[in-house]
Amino acid sequence: MTNRWKNISRAAFAAALMLSASYAEAAGILTIGRREDSTTFDPIKSAQNVDNWVFSNVFDVLVRVDKTGTKLEPGLAESWTISPDGLTYTFKMRDAKFSDGSPITAEDAAFSLLRIRDSKESLWSDSYKIVDTAVATDPKTLTVKLTSASAPFLSQLALPNVSVLSKKAVEAGEEAFAELPTASSGAFTVKEWRRGDRVILEKNPNFWQADRVKLDGVEWISVPDDNTRMLNVQAGQLDTAIFVPFSRVAELKKDPNLVIHTDVSTREDHLLINHEHGALAKKEVRQALDMAIDKKSIVDTVTFGIGTVANSYIPKGSLYHYDANYQYPYDPAKAKAMLAAAGASDLKLNYVVNAGNEVDEQIAVLLQQQLGKAGVTVNLQKVDPSQSWNMLIDGDYDISVMYWTNDILDPDQKTTFVLGHDSNMNYMTRYKNDKVKDLVAAARLELDPTKREAMYVDIQKLAKDDDPLDRPLLQPLYQRLPQGHREFLPEPARPLLPRRYGQELIGSFAPPLS
């Protein structure tokens, strides 16, 4: 997790819901509106959700997350075995073909796994350093050896970025492949990419589950303005759209022609505190800040009641989330007293805000007033989102709000990022606690789920006590609906939509009303 670009992607691409005009026919072309266009078709070169949605359409992975979003299921690997020491994984490949008709072999799978680890262009190398060797022992068998046992390894294989690519097609020219992949292992092939405008996909007849794909094609169309995109769906110019602004949900739900799909997201908006700046180094000061913040009112104002107050850095609904975690009460008077006791009664904070981000700006205005009641002066510093991330890395801030969505099922990824004391300085907070650091490392190696859960509960409690605030502020999104990696038309007329665990999209597509 050292690469800043993958993290920027999380900060820059806002979450929301999905909106769709209900319509009867499932075949044909599905048009989907979204904020931004794709940036590449080479999965290792991107960590942005907008790209991963399309990767999920075009490429398949060895192991998938199931529809419920809680378990793993076979993808291109039909089955697998793990050696008792947890170091050797043996995958049996399914009989499947690329869109160009050539067979998908263990050789391709090994190539793809080693490429994401070794390529200079890869944004994900660090996450796959755990792979020691990956060898095709025969065309149908992939043997992977790890440098050490790793509980999250299988979850990591479900990431669209480590999709199985055709070795032949990639080696024919990486640059060209990133522009227009000539062979795809997934449900669709890329027909055309009009940069900045749309991605046009058409059905891959050679896909191993082609009989379950009812659509002839998908068009991902970028419509940056929220209001325009919503109008396009209402007017029928788009079949569906992602990112429904929170402020519009209630109103759009009233439109009888529209269905709004909501789901629990793994997005959490965190208030980051720079532990190296003055009084913020004191634990009591950080706890006082937590008590000075009325999180309920932030959730109500910013998400229009759609979100919930989060109490742990592991989002609700995710593996090992500790629901009974302590939540500091809202008590500005006590916060003020605590600040005075800690010698920080006239605390002044510089708050770095992502300019132009509606949610961030609203949270900033609310926090400024709430902290003001506890005697804390907050100076808002609006900066461009591309700049704010670097300011955080440089420690050039007192507080700031950033959000995170999980990429994999396993909590290890986020835990390492926020508490693992890795190169990101614990989400740039400069938080230090060796006990937590050791627990995070141990939890990664622990293969017994019960023991592992107990470790994660400990981590969540410790983190809450130490720094209640660089842990989450709120978790937006809705009632729970099935979520998962993909869903291939579970009902006769339900079109295909990409699914990936943890991304904000989630939410099933409209079942026709007729």
């Binding site: 929220d226 209001n227 402020s247 109103e251 009112s297 300019a355 509606e358 007033q369």
Partner: protein
């Protein structure tokens, strides 16, 4: 009334107000806004930055004639307090360029030659950039905030005044009274600023009025982009920006500050036109 000279007699005021309804309307609107700005603490029914979660996004009602925004703040109070900021933007945003432009234009026009060439090439360079782009780049370097906006405005806005004044000075410096002043041995400064400038400045004053409209809109635009006035201060442009995402559900958040911008701009515009007619300046 000769072109370019100010010849107002005290008795004339009532006459031309009567004959010139535009002047009365423009001045009236401006005066109303100035009074509103001065009396803001007395007139505004609520604290403009006080948030109240209980009354978010309320449509206009008797309690809140302009409704409330997504933080439960009273829009009417925010519009009234915003008057202070927006008038300040219009005044300071015009004053600095006006003064700088006038001095530069006078010097360039009077001395001519290399001085003139240097200043006018500088003007050409600044004019070569699109106005807003140049403004935004300067603000981006200085950091967001109103003071950066004023500095950017002063650096960019003076060129129009400089050109106007210079053109007038070029004509006037060959007039009889200027030649007479030179032969009487008056100093250059005296000739420039006491003899020539008063006769050259009318066009700039009229232009300043229409420039105020432009400045006001630029201020609103810059704030809209998040580079001007910073939250939670109430400013019309910021209010329009904040209300944008609610435009289909809560139109009142954007409508009232938007109308205020239009009204104030209208006032300046009217006054400018009327003054132009009165002073015999034809743009």
């Amino acid at each position: 009334m000769s072109a370019g000279s100010i010849t107002l007699s005290p008795v004339g005021w009532r006459m031309f107000f009567g004959r010139n309804p535009m002047l009365a309307i423009g001045a009236g609107i401006l005066l109303a806004f100035v009074l509103l700005a001065i009396a803001a603490p007395l007139v505004a029914p609520y604290d403009p930055i006080l948030q109240n979660g209980e009354i978010r996004l309320q449509p206009p009602s008797l309690l809140h004639p302009f409704g409330t925004d997504n933080f439960g703040r009273d829009i009417l109070s925010r519009v009234i307090w915003g008057t202070r900021i927006d008038l300040q933007i219009a005044l300071i945003g015009v004053a600095f360029p006006f003064v700088i432009g006038t001095v530069v234009g006078t010097i360039a026009g009077f001395f001519g030659g290399i001085v003139d060439a240097l200043f006018m090439r500088l003007v050409d360079i600044i004019l070569a950039f699109p106005f807003l782009v140049l403004m935004l780049s300067i603000i981006a370097i200085l950091g967001p905030g109103l003071s950066s906006f004023y500095i950017a405005m002063a650096l960019v806005g003076w060129v129009s005044y400089a050109r106007l004044i210079r053109a007038q000075i070029l004509v006037l410096k060959n007039s009889d009274y200027a030649v007479a002043a030179v032969s009487l041995g008056f100093g250059r400064l005296r000739i420039m600023f006491r003899h020539l400038l008063p006769n050259a400045i009318a066009g700039s004053i009229v232009f300043a009025m229409s420039d105020a409209v432009l400045v006001l809109l630029s201020g609103a635009a810059v704030s809209y982009l998040g580079l001007g006035v910073q939250p939670p201060v109430a400013e019309w442009g910021v209010m329009v920006a904040e209300g944008q995402s609610f435009i289909t559900t809560a139109w009142w958040i954007t409508l009232f500050p938007g109308l205020s911008i239009v009204c104030l701009a209208f006032g300046f515009s009217m006054l400018g036109d009327a003054l132009g007619e009165l002073l015999g300046v034809h743009e």
